[in-house]
Amino acid sequence: MKITMTQAATIDIRNLNKHYAVKGKRLAVLENISLSIQPGEFISIVGASGSGKSTLLRLLIGLENDYEGQILLDNHQIQGPSLERGIVFQEHRLFPWLTAEQNVALGLLNSPETDSEKARNVQEHLALVGLQGFEHAYPHQLSGGMSQRVAIARALVNRPEVLLLDEPFGALDALTRSNMQQELQRIWKAEGITAILVTHDVEEAVFLGDRVVIMEPRPGRIREIVDVRLPHPRDRANPAFATIKQDILNHFKKEAFA
């Protein structure tokens, strides 16, 4: 039973543009991205390589800051990284010299909690991702899926208002991946935060998302946003699920022939 609930955030992206200067020429990476995300919503972003989806995520987390337009979190312009936004990368990026417990605690390094509060927090989150008993394991002793779960715990440990996920299961095998997708859905429901997932796997996007944002490349822009009005827990065998998934795949087929 958690003592404090996470606050979920509203995210507003307005007319976001980003470009690189390559040999004097302007290379547009993201063009006119506008998106409004409700608190507690799960947004999946799909697109082929080059559609700028990862760049969008990096802008949201604050690792890149050179852009035009506005990115608002609860109506405040974001300024670089902050503990209110958590991220899970494709590689787990755990520090190999720290145990699972210590890695999760890393997220609380600059948080104002007391030491005992932090310790309890870490335990709770390890339990949340199903890793009680593995507190003292080093990353090299954990499987890929387990390490990624530690990364998720680390991202959630300071109760951010939004969780960003950049192809978090891309490096895992298919079986682990589908397990992890279910886990992620459970965790998201339990924490009640806003989540934004970037993936190239359409089924994953439909399984997890309330809405699926389809992006197309060169330059990266939003092609369409598809609603997924299916009840939780999602059932992959459901015909409605298959229809939505096929719909979205068709978008990409069109692209291939364009």
Partner: protein, 256 residues
């Protein structure tokens, strides 16, 4: 298991054989026993030495210089390595001079050093520290540069301050290379210690001086015993360092 035992056994064959030949040669007077002394002689001289306080004073002094110089040089080397590894500006200012100075073989610095700082304890410790500076700095630079971008981004996401970045990411991440270079530096420092004692003739004493005394007196037994001790100290220090390194780096995935 069987092959492990036989490996150990075979390693001893050569030294034991040579020892036996040596003993035989001296016992049968095949060689000039003034020059090639019987192994027993080394032992008896050794036992004699071990009873004299001079001997222990010598060892303590040598070790003291070694450790003092090593610690000073290692700290400076890590600091220098971190600065050069982290700041490209520092790299461009410091590295050229550093690499040029390295071309001058270590002992070539000793005459100048002894002119500036005398032949006493100070120059010895400075010399030993200097010998350690380069390898440790080099290892540190390599370690600092190999910090992964992925981890650096994690540090940014969690708002690490500069100090936190150094203490919690850079140094632990560079630890394998730093510790490896420290192990190497240990060997170099011991060599610099003994070498300095050979070259800087003085009133003080040390293991090197003991060996030198042996040479002056044509006391081959003393020389050999001294060399034995020098080798033993070097070897045990190396073993200790290895154990420490394995312990501190136990978080690493085993190779294969």
């Amino acid at each position: 298991m069987k092959s492990l035992e036989s490996w150990n056994w075979r390693g001893w064959v050569l030294p034991v054989f040579l020892l036996a030949v040596w003993q035989l040669a001296t016992a049968q007077h095949w060689v000039n026993t003034k020059l090639i002394v019987p192994p027993i002689g080394v032992l008896t001289t050794g036992l004699k030495q071990v009873t004299q306080t001079d001997f222990y004073v010598g060892i303590v002094l040598s070790l003291g210089r070694d450790i003092g110089g090593f610690v000073a040089g290692a700290l400076a080397g890590v600091a220098l390595g971190v600065v050069v590894g982290v700041s490209s500006l520092a790299d461009r200012v410091l590295s050229p001079t550093f690499h040029a100075a390295r071309q001058i073989s270590l002992f070539a610095w000793l005459p100048l050093l002894s002119a500036l700082a005398g032949t006493g304890e100070l120059s010895r410790v400075i010399f030993i520290a200097f010998s350690v500076l380069y390898p440790v700095a080099l290892g540190t630079i390599e370690g600092v540069r190999s910090v992964s971008t992925g981890h650096r981004e994690v540090a940014r996401v969690y708002g690490f301050t500069h100090w936190q970045l150094l203490r919690r990411l850079i140094l632990p991440s560079a630890a394998p290379q730093i510790l490896g270079s420290l192990r190497l530096a240990l060997i170099i420092a011991w060599m610099a210690t003994i070498g300095a004692e050979f070259l800087l003739v003085n009133d003080t004493t040390g293991l090197g001086e003991i060996v030198f005394k042996g040479r002056r007196a044509f006391d081959v037994e003393l020389i050999l015993f001294g060399l034995l001790i020098i080798g033993l100290i070097g070897g045990s220090a190396g073993q200790l360092a290895s154990r420490l390194e394995t312990h501190w780096l136990r978080w690493r995935a085993p190779i294969r």
